[in-house]
């Protein structure tokens, strides 16, 4: 599906640029994009190494297990298969906790570790893997640190006053994400990875 999306985006953009006369800009932009991918990967290497290391220590010390125990009722509903097998559950719970705390760059490596353990090599997304990914696209955050920093830099007077609105929107979006995944996965037939 991502492949189809990729093809559509590229073809549509190219055809449009011929009519709009922006092909020259596009040529430069594509190379720019490839370069930016290197920058993002480099910073991802640092962040992922750091958080995977932290995660490993906390897991060995039993801290992640404790967190997973606290969030068990929610986890059992969201990730039924992982709750049963234990595969990827710790990392998934830690990923959600990191999102809530607004440390999004820690959430990504944790989420990746969770989904790898959930999938265990299968190339068809399991229900749990779909749930985890969609929850991350809806990223429910209690402290949207980046946006607040951007607003402060722009001289905004409303900073933390926006938080209740953000919580409501994230809440609605997250509930909707959970509902849609449960519904669509049920319609599409059960698949356990």
């Amino acid at each position: 599906m991502l492949g189809i999306l990729f093809s559509i985006i590229c073809i549509l953009s190219f055809v449009w640029s011929i009519f709009a006369g922006t092909t020259a800009d596009m040529a430069a932009a594509v190379l720019d994009g490839a370069g930016r991918a290197v920058e993002v990967t480099l910073s991802l290497i640092g962040v992922m190494s750091l958080w995977s290391g932290v995660m490993e220590v906390l897991r060995e010390a039993g801290g992640i297990g404790l967190l997973a125990k606290l969030l068990r009722p929610a986890a059992r509903f969201l990730f039924p298969t992982a709750s049963r097998t234990g595969k990827g559950l710790d990392a998934a719970v830690a990923c959600i906790a990191a999102n809530l705390l607004g440390i999004g760059n820690a959430a990504t490596p944790l989420g990746i570790e969770a989904i790898r353990e959930m999938q265990d090599g299968s190339d068809i997304a399991s229900d749990d893997a779909v749930m985890l990914t969609v929850l991350n696209t809806a990223s429910f955050s209690l402290l949207p640190t980046t946006v607040i920093a951007l607003r402060r830099a722009a001289g905004a007077s409303l900073l933390f006053e926006l938080l209740p609105a953000v919580w409501m929107c994230s809440g609605v979006g997250t509930l909707c994400a959970v509902g849609t995944v449960k519904l669509l996965c049920a319609i599409g037939g059960k698949k356990h990875g």
Partner: protein
């Protein structure tokens, strides 16, 4: 205050790791390095996917189609200046951050558009990036209902944000 607490979470967690490594009898520093190595491998393996994705996103954002679509959305009642931002939000984190700054500079961060855009920025994520990274890292080929479900959730979040901000601020 809130910002200070939030800023200290990351260093605090790492310091906690230090305490655990010191107190534990197990060789936990080796575990840290082992974990870091796994994370490093994962990140390196993500590069081909990211490179492909970023090229496609660059093509999309440079061809001018977003401006044309934004014009249509504005006529459909999306607040002025928000449409281009809304279109780029699920596709590119860098582009949507730049557009948020544009809205702040053009209309003011405390304007209705500035507030609504901030709320949307905070309560959503770069959909394509997240899905591409997760599926690539786990080797998923069949994404099933991932993209439709994420799309539905995003549309609902945006609608909720526009409505809430209209009523509230």
């Amino acid at each position: 205050m809130v910002e200070k607490i939030s800023a200290s979470i990351v260093p605090a967690v790492i310091a906690l790791c230090g305490v655990i490594i010191l107190l534990s009898k197990k060789p936990l520093f080796d575990s840290f390095i082992g974990g870091a190595k796994k994370g490093c491998d994962t990140a390196v393996k993500l590069f081909p996917t990211l490179c492909t994705l970023f090229c496609a996103v660059s093509m999309f954002s440079s061809c001018g189609i977003a401006d044309a679509l934004a014009g249509v959305l504005t006529r459909l009642g999306i607040p002025d200046g928000m449409a281009a931002f809304l279109l780029m939000r699920p596709i590119s984190g860098a582009a949507s951050t730049a557009m948020l700054a544009d809205i702040f500079a053009g209309k003011g961060a405390d304007s209705p558009a500035g507030i609504a855009a901030s709320v949307i920025m905070a309560s959503s994520d770069t959909l394509f990036y997240v899905i591409a990274v997760y599926t690539a890292a786990a080797g998923i080929k069949k994404t099933r209902c991932m993209i439709p479900a994420a799309g539905v959730a995003m549309v609902v979040t945006v609608a909720a944000a526009l409505l809430i901000c209209k009523l509230w601020f």
